[in-house]
Every structure is written in structure tokens, then in C-alpha cells.
Symmetry: C2
Subunit: 341 residues, 2 copies
């Protein structure tokens, strides 16, 4: 039988309460006693039973996801996965809530974060742009004792802490290599479209993309990034212009997470089967485009994985135990028509 806290208390010659204090790093125990307990842990090979520990805490774990108020299809997927885990989590004594913030207004957003109280949350996963106000708000949350982890959009990797999301530079590189391999032309020009290059994510993807193209595909020339500002009309204009002005166009890289609008516009123009198109994220639009051969490949991060990984990491932090590193590294998925599952 596995040793229990009772065995441990006996082995260390202390009471259950003291064992609990040491186990959970609570104050009010003499160093000597702490050592005695720790030695006993080693000696009898004690390992805490998380199931019992969770049950004994009256309240379960309460986690939150901070998400932008306005979002694209990718965000819809994320929210659907959060809903899934909400349902499944109840039986495991875990509740998950979402908090929407106004991404456009850093002050409002920061204020929303400030309102999150320690009494309501054990940990929060935060998807938010990198602004001074938000960074401060996050720091203050931590001081209040709420665990936080960056979610999908990285907050400049402040401490070499965990981060749930993909390496965007590698994602861009992946897109770059697929573009290079799929284009069979001797020479050609590649266009890059995104909503805005403001975000760090876009910058990193572009860097990765260029790295690969410049290094391994000298036959291709990549044009400056075109910004749509998520405006359909502007998007249409951009695509029309690029198609008309670049006779050597062989590929289009849709770099943002909102490929729906560019794809719609593109489908009005694309007649040339040799134009290679690559986008990000698996959404209803991109999946349909992949099936219809309007898109050649998708570079994606799995929304379900992101959400579950965030929750697992927060929970592990709460319980003060390590996570399986191999499980929590977010994979850069490549999707084509045949592995869409």
C-alpha cells in the first residue's frame, strides 16, 4: 500500500497537521521539524494523493481565460473548446470562466484585469496585446496572488516562464518552406497579407518566413507585407492590385489568423491553378477552402490543445507539481486536404 500522510506523520514523529503544513509550505513550523518531515518523505517514499487533496479543499479550482471582445473565427474555436472543458471540468472540481476585454482600448482592458479578484480565481490564462497598461495590470494580478500565464499571444516572455501557444517564428518558417516546396516555378513573386503588422506575432511569422525563403528558395521574391486592417473592401482592393500588377505572382501567404476575408476575395480572382496559397489556423473557412482546393496548406495551432494545456498548466501550478513538458509544447500543425480529419 502506498504511504499516506498518516504514515508520514508517524515516520516523522509529528502530527497530521504538521505534515500538511510542511507539504504545502505553510509557515509556523520549525526548520528542524520541516527537515524531519522531508527526510521521512524520502525515507518512506511518500507521494501525495492529489485526488484526496482536491477533495479536501472545499472549493475546486477556478480558472479564467481572458480573451479579446472582438474576434475572428479562430477565437470562436477557442471559445468552443473552453465550453467543452467547462462541461467536463465540473466533475473534476474545476470551473472555467471567460473574461472578455476591449483589445482596442488598453486602459479599459487593463481595468478589466484589475477587477479580477483573488477570491474568484486561482489562475488565469491571458490572451492580450502587449501594451504597458496590460503588462502592469498583469503584474499587479500576480502580486495579488493570482497565477497567470500568457495564452496564444506572448507577453514578451517576461520570465522564462511557460507560454501556451506556438513559436510564431517557427510557424512562419514552416509556411515559408511549404511555399518554397509547393511552388515549382523557376522564378516568382510571393505576396504576404495580414490584418496588421502591429502585433508581435505577425512580425515573428514574417521573420521566419523570410528566413526560409531567403536561405533556401532564392528563386522566390517576397513582397512587403500588405495590411488589410480586417476591412473587406481594402482587402479586395489589395488583392486586385496585386493580381494585376504582379504577373510573376506564384504564391500568397495569408499570415494573420483571419483568413476568411482574404480567401473570399481570392476566390473571385483565382483562376490560375499554379498560385500557391497558405494560411493560418483551422476554422470553418479555411477548412472549406482546403477542401475546395482554394488553399494548399494550413499552418495551425490546435485550439483544443491550447485550452486544455493552459488549464493543465494552471492546475499543476496550483498543486505545485510539474507538467509533462512533452505534452505542453504546442505543436505547429500542417494541414492539407488529406489530414483534415
Amino acid at each position: 500500500m502506498r504511504p499516506t500522510t498518516k504514515d508520514l506523520a508517524q515516520a516523522a514523529g509529528v502530527s497530521l497537521a504538521t505534515v500538511d503544513r510542511v507539504l504545502n509550505g505553510r509557515p509556523g513550523v520549525r526548520k528542524k521539524t520541516v527537515d524531519a518531515v522531508n527526510n521521512a518523505i524520502q525515507k518512506i517514499g511518500f507521494e501525495r494523493n492529489q485526488v484526496a487533496a482536491t477533495l479536501a479543499r472545499k472549493r475546486g479550482y477556478r480558472f479564467g481565460f481572458v480573451l479579446p471582445k472582438e474576434g475572428d473565427e479562430f477565437l470562436d474555436e477557442i471559445m468552443e473548446r473552453i465550453r467543452e472543458i467547462q462541461r467536463a471540468g465540473r466533475a473534476e472540481m474545476m470551473s472555467v470562466k471567460t473574461i472578455r476585454i476591449d483589445e482596442q482600448d488598453p486602459h479599459k482592458a487593463a481595468a478589466s484585469l484589475s477587477r479580477l479578484k483573488t477570491e474568484d480565481f486561482d489562475g488565469i490564462a491571458i490572451m492580450a496585446p502587449e501594451t504597458p497598461q496590460i503588462r502592469d495590470a498583469i503584474l499587479r494580478m500576480r502580486e495579488r496572488g493570482i497565477l497567470t500565464i500568457p495564452f496564444i499571444s506572448n507577453q514578451q516572455n517576461d520570465e522564462n516562464d511557460v507560454f501556451v501557444g506556438i513559436d510564431n517564428r517557427a510557424a512562419g518558417a514552416t509556411a515559408g518552406r511549404l511555399m518554397g516546396r509547393f511552388v515549382c516555378a523557376q522564378q516568382g513573386v510571393v505576396a504576404v497579407i495580414t490584418d496588421t503588422v502591429q502585433a508581435r506575432d505577425s512580425l515573428e511569422r514574417r521573420l521566419g518566413f523570410d528566413d526560409v525563403i531567403n536561405h533556401d528558395f532564392a528563386n522566390l521574391r517576397v513582397l512587403p507585407t500588405l495590411e488589410t486592417y480586417a476591412d473587406p473592401e481594402r482587402t479586395q482592393r489589395i488583392i486586385r492590385t496585386i493580381m494585376a500588377s504582379q504577373p510573376d505572382l506564384v504564391g500568397i501567404y495569408m499570415m494573420g489568423s483571419e483568413a476568411r476575408v482574404p480567401l473570399e476575395m481570392l476566390s473571385q480572382f483565382r483562376t490560375d491553378e499554379d498560385l500557391v496559397t497558405i494560411a493560418h489556423e483551422k476554422t470553418p473557412s479555411t477548412v472549406a477552402a482546403l477542401r475546395d482546393r482554394k488553399l494548399d496548406a494550413l499552418v495551425a495551432q490546435n485550439p483544443g490543445h491550447l485550452v486544455r494545456s493552459a488549464v493543465r498548466i494552471l492546475r499543476a501550478k496550483c498543486e505545485n507539481r510539474p507538467t509533462l513538458a512533452s505534452q505542453e509544447k504546442t505543436r505547429i500543425e500542417i494541414l492539407i486536404a488529406d489530414n483534415l480529419y
Copy 2:
């Protein structure tokens, strides 16, 4: 506060013990009482607390993985992931064991399965070739009351039951499309190498591969599958012959899960940068080959995911609750040099 069994007992006008009997489908309760409890469940929105339930069962969950005795690098990865979950599982009241069977000898293998007792296992994930003896042994295990699920190698999908592993036909199709897209030649010949075409997995991959090539890449001709029987010398001979006899060779598809030997042999010959090579499974050998540009792409199933998914499914079955379908579908991963993480 969430309703507990106590609340439920009160609402149904019965005792805790009866509630438990109904909840766990145990016999010895009048139909009328069962209905009363079920109605009360609906009425008060009761949902069982799995944490408490797990704790209250004296023993935790005991699962097993049946694996072949002899294996390749892919199997090593699987075992490493099982070890990981063994460590992590203890705190969650779950133990995981592996049982190695002699794949070459169906009778011995079946005998090994027969030895697995209900007292020792709540559920077993089985990776085994599809032979009458093994099929029977599995059926008998089920009759004994042990939950079983096919693992990686499918047992002809007997009941439309769960299956942990990839759709091999889709995996072959994925390899086919990558081959078609990566080969830029006007015309060419593609070779297919595997250990043996005995296994259903190989057949299905080949079907998927051919589907795509025939349908979408008329410029390519796929040669009959070459079998290495996992013999290095034979592999070398095969590769030498194919390189010499097929001047139009533009691609090699290593269809089995053991790409190490073919890759080694290939590296002795490959000088032509235009030869596209695609293999299966992420292992030290294939990863190194991908990095060294000796391999262009990998079609893989994630070993960690496979193992954890099997455990989650077994556990859910034990606890008589559903799984997250989106999480348990094994993805067909495409790996290139840039998304190897």
C-alpha cells in the same frame, strides 16, 4: 453549491446506499426506485463528483498496454511515453503496466493475453497483429470483464468502437499528396518501401497513397511495394537496384514505421537533390534525417498523444462517462524541418 449524493438521496426520498446503487447500475433496486432516483437527478441537476468517487474506491485504476516484444524506434517512443504517464499517474490513483507479447507467435501471444486477470486490470490497450488467436483471446478478455481498446494497430474495427491510432488510409493519402506536391518534375517514378505488406496498416497506407497519386498526379507512376523484411542487407540490395534500374526515380515513400534502416542505406546513395523522400513516425533517426535534409517530410502520429488518449478513454469507460471526441481523434501530423519543435 453543487448538489451532492446526499441532496440526491433526500430529493429522491431514499438512502445514500440506494443512490449509489442506481448511480453505478448495481442490481437489487426496484425499477420504481431507480426511476425515482433518476427523476431526482434530472430535477436537482445532480452530477457525480469524480474526485470523491475515485478516492472512495479503495484501489485506483489499473491499466495495461499490450505491446510487441520486438520493436522499432517508434515503439521505443511509445514506451517512453508510457513511463511518463506511469510517474504522473500515481498521484491520480492510477497505475499503468506494460505486457509484452511475442508478435511472431500468435499462440504464445494469445496465451499471454489469456493470463491477464480481472483482478489485476480495469482496462487494457492492445497493440497486436490481427490473427484469429489474438482476436479470440481479446474476446475472452472482454467476457472476463476487462475493458479493451485497440491501440495503434486496428483490430478490424470489430464494433464501431473507439480506436486509438490514425486512419492509415488518410495517412497514406497525406504522404501521397506531399509526394505529389514536392516533386516538381514533369514525369517520374516513385518507389514504395516497407518492412512487410502483411499488416493491414501497410495495405491501407498504400491504398491512400495510390488514391491521391492516381487521382491528382498523373505525371507520377508508383512502383509495386518493395518489402525489406526489416533486413538491412535486403534493404540495401533493394535500394541499390531501384536506384540503378529506375533513371526516372523522383521519390521514395518509406511506408513502414521503421525508417531507420532504409534511411541509412539511402544516405549512401542519395546525391541527387531532387529525390523526394517521405517516411512515417517521428523517431531519433527520422528527426535527424529531416534536419540533415535527407528526408523531406514525415507523416506521424504523436506517441504521447496515443498513450494518453488510450488512458483517458479507458478511464472514462471505467467511470462510465463520455470522452471529448475532439481530443481523442488521433491527428495525422506532417513534420518538416521547421516544425519539428
